[in-house]
């Protein structure tokens, strides 16, 4: 597969201050905003309209750093925190400090889409969920959908991303602003005591979302919900992203939690690496920082009626009916009896469990057998994105399972 020339695209991620060319353009538009960016389409609009606000008509020094919602691009070169963060994460040298500084500006700090990390986070989130889901589905092809959702949440969910950005040593700014060190994560904080998820989410992609009593199947959440099975706000059309300059005296956007801001930052870093350094670097970053974390999938199951599920499974797969047999026991008449029960199908043992009563031991044995089914993993696992490397071996189809047991 031919490698894409991402460097050319990634220049749009930088503001014009960071770019070498375009001095004339910078000269023209430095009046509109100190850190004015890049969009060539601005040239078509009338300058008079841009300069119409009385505060914007005068010279450059009229804008101080304090009036800007987020630090200007040239401050990124002077921040020691930012350079240290860049080196600590072993980010590729092709990823400039200015982009890393942009990754640290949340949309709640600077609503302008040209200066916040929203676009990078969208790209990064897609990459993260793609890599995580292909890893999970290829490694454990029989996992039930609910467990896949939970495992996705564990790998790339907002809680994990918050923990990761803490472990990366990212500090949070008390309040966003142009004078703040660009090495700090900038977002508008919630007021103390405010509840972020007080009202239910509206404006999702799911049809009939106002019908709260309707059943929401797990399969439908693949279509309508996000990668963790949670309802997701529908994407706003790009026309709503305003290009107008934003100053601190405007009415601000909604505040966010530290968890949401950190998650957006981590996703934006992923998107920035992809944009500047390309796909292999992004995948390496994912493997080193996300996939290397420990997750025990066998602890993520919660069965309601394991014995019934196992019976349904054996009927579906044309196995003999599972039979529970006592392998050993001790102290049946005592206060603390222990039973070891095995579940057999024909002559094969499917699982075994111990418990203080026969029903408990049987339920635990059924859980063990069901986990033995669901946690099957092929020996040589290859993910589809491995085909993107140069000189990759021909693709062999991965194991695809029928799906979870439906009762």
């Amino acid at each position: 597969m031919k490698r894409l020339q991402l460097q050319r695209w990634s220049s749009s991620a930088l503001s014009s201050r960071a770019r070498t060319g375009g001095r004339l353009q910078r000269h023209l538009y430095s009046g509109t905003r100190l850190q004015s960016t890049n969009s060539y389409s601005l040239q078509d609009q009338s300058l008079g309209q841009q300069l119409a606000p009385p505060s914007a008509t005068s010279d450059v020094p009229k804008f101080t750093k304090r009036q800007l919602p987020s630090p200007p691009a040239e401050a990124a070169r002077e921040s020691a925190k930012l350079a240290a963060l860049h080196a600590r994460l072993y980010l590729p040298s092709r990823l400039p400090l200015e982009t890393l500084a942009r990754c640290l500006v949340d949309a709640s700090a600077d609503p302008s889409a040209q200066f916040n990390n929203q676009s990078l986070a969208v790209l990064g989130n897609d990459l993260l969920s793609n890599y995580a889901s292909e890893h999970l589905i290829c490694t454990y092809p029989r996992l039930p959908l609910t467990v896949i959702f939970a495992a996705m949440y564990a790998y790339v969910g907002p809680k994990t991303l918050l923990a990761m950005s803490r472990e990366w040593g990212v500090e949070h700014a008390a309040a966003p602003g142009g004078e703040v060190d660009p090495g700090l994560l900038q977002y508008k904080r919630l007021d103390p005591g405010a509840k972020p998820d007080a009202e239910p989410l509206v404006g999702t992609t799911r049809p009939n979302e106002d019908q709260t009593t309707w059943r929401r199947s797990i399969t439908s959440s693949v279509v309508y919900d996000n990668e963790f099975g949670d309802p997701e706000r529908a994407a706003s059309p790009p026309a709503e992203l305003s290009d107008e300059p934003f100053l601190m005296n405007d009415k601000g956007p909604a505040p966010v939690t530290p968890e949401a801001a950190s998650a957006t930052f981590a996703r934006a870093v992923m998107g920035a690496i992809y944009l500047h350094a390309g796909r292999p670097a992004a995948k390496r970053f994912f493997e080193q920082h996300f996939l290397s974390r420990q997750l025990d999938i066998s602890k993520m199951f919660n069965f309601q009626q394991p014995a019934r599920d196992l019976t349904r499974l054996c009927a579906r797969e044309n196995y003999d009916e599972p039979v529970a047999k006592i392998i050993s026991e001790t102290g049946r008449r005592s206060r603390t009896p222990v039973f070891v029960v095995g579940i057999f199908s024909g002559v094969d043992k499917l699982g075994e469990g111990t418990g203080a009563s026969l029903s408990e031991a049987r339920a635990r044995a059924s859980v063990a057998a069901l986990k033995g089914w669901y946690l099957y993993s092929p020996l040589e696992v290859r993910v589809p994105s491995a085909m993107e490397e140069d000189g990759a071996a021909p693709w062999k189809p991965v194991y695809v399972d029928l799906g979870e047991v439906i009762v």
Binding site: S298, F303, P306, D348, L350, L358, G372, L375, L379, E380
Partner: protein, 281 residues
């Protein structure tokens, strides 16, 4: 644990072919893994009786699995000359220089002596296992497998659940999965549920009619006794009327209102414990 062994072997397909130095290092790690998977001793005499290849598994490592799985119990295993065994259990690299025929006499001194008699005995004190028996032919190398005394891991897919084209199906030892015959074991339930399938469509209609006519008189248990089936089948066939459900709820509430704190807490705890079974906690 066998899966781990097999995975180890599949990951390093060309491992035991060379006896060069760096491969030796790999091999020591490999033996280390073997010992952790439960293989305690290697039958040295038979290993050396093979030709100049120091290890019996010359070609792809699947042969190793073959020797591992093809092992059969031998009656006279208790009388095996102990010198022929090298314990690999806790100091796995200990016996390794032995295995290289080129440096056999030279590295003999390199083997660390057990400093006390007690330690020597401790190393040799291996719990007897079914797989300790004799193999069918003495000449073949065999590995003694001593399974760990722990509950089987849930990541170990049972033989029956492996897909038909999975390589583990052919490699896995059939002795381990069929060591217990389920016929000899007692059942959890006193009597196996017998399925009669004797009710017809008309009977089901009759059940529904009776239950809707007088839900107080025709309860689930009474219907089950009348039609000689299980109450679960009655529940599947028809549902109680809302009035009956409401009455039942009031009865239950009246009973529960007489419970004291201790009993109520005990019931709640029991329910919580039951829910924890499904999470395997």
């Amino acid at each position: 644990m066998q899966d781990l062994l097999i995975m180890t072997c599949v990951r390093f397909p060309s491992l035991p072919r060379q006896t060069s130095a760096e491969k030796f290092r790999d091999l020591s790690a490999w033996i280390n893994r073997l010992s952790r998977t439960g293989i305690r001793t290697l039958h040295l005499k038979s290993i050396q009786s093979q030709s100049q290849s120091w290890f019996p598994f010359r070609d792809p490592i699947y042969q190793l699995i073959h020797t591992f799985t093809a092992f059969r119990p031998r009656a006279s295993s208790r009388k095996i000359d102990m010198a022929a065994f090298v314990t690999v259990s806790k100091r796995p690299i200990l016996g390794l220089p032995f295995l290289l025929p080129s440096c056999e006499p030279a590295t003999l001194e390199l083997r660390r002596a057990q400093s006390t008699y007690r330690r020597t005995k401790q190393r040799l004190r291996i719990k007897p296992d079914a797989s300790f028996g004799s193999s069918s032919d003495n000449s073949q190398a065999h590995i003694i497998h001593n399974p760990p005394s722990s509950a089987p891991s849930t990541y170990h897919t049972p033989m029956k659940f492996l897909p038909p084209n999975d390589v583990r199906r052919t490699l896995r030892n059939d002795a381990s999965s069929k060591s217990q015959s389920p016929e000899a074991l007692p059942s959890v339930f006193k009597s196996a549920p017998e399925r009669k399938y004797h009710l017809t469509r008309e009977d089901v209609e009759e059940i529904r009619k009776l239950r809707s006519s007088d839900p107080i008189l025709w309860s689930r248990w009474k219907l089950a006794k009348h039609f000689n089936c299980s109450p679960i089948f009655i529940a599947q066939a028809c549902e109680a009327s809302p009035q009956k459900k409401e009455i039942q709820r009031q009865v239950l509430a009246a009973v529960q209102s007489r419970w004291g704190k201790t009993r109520r807490m005990a019931r709640e705890d029991r329910q919580l414990r039951k829910e924890s079974w499904g999470r395997d906690e």
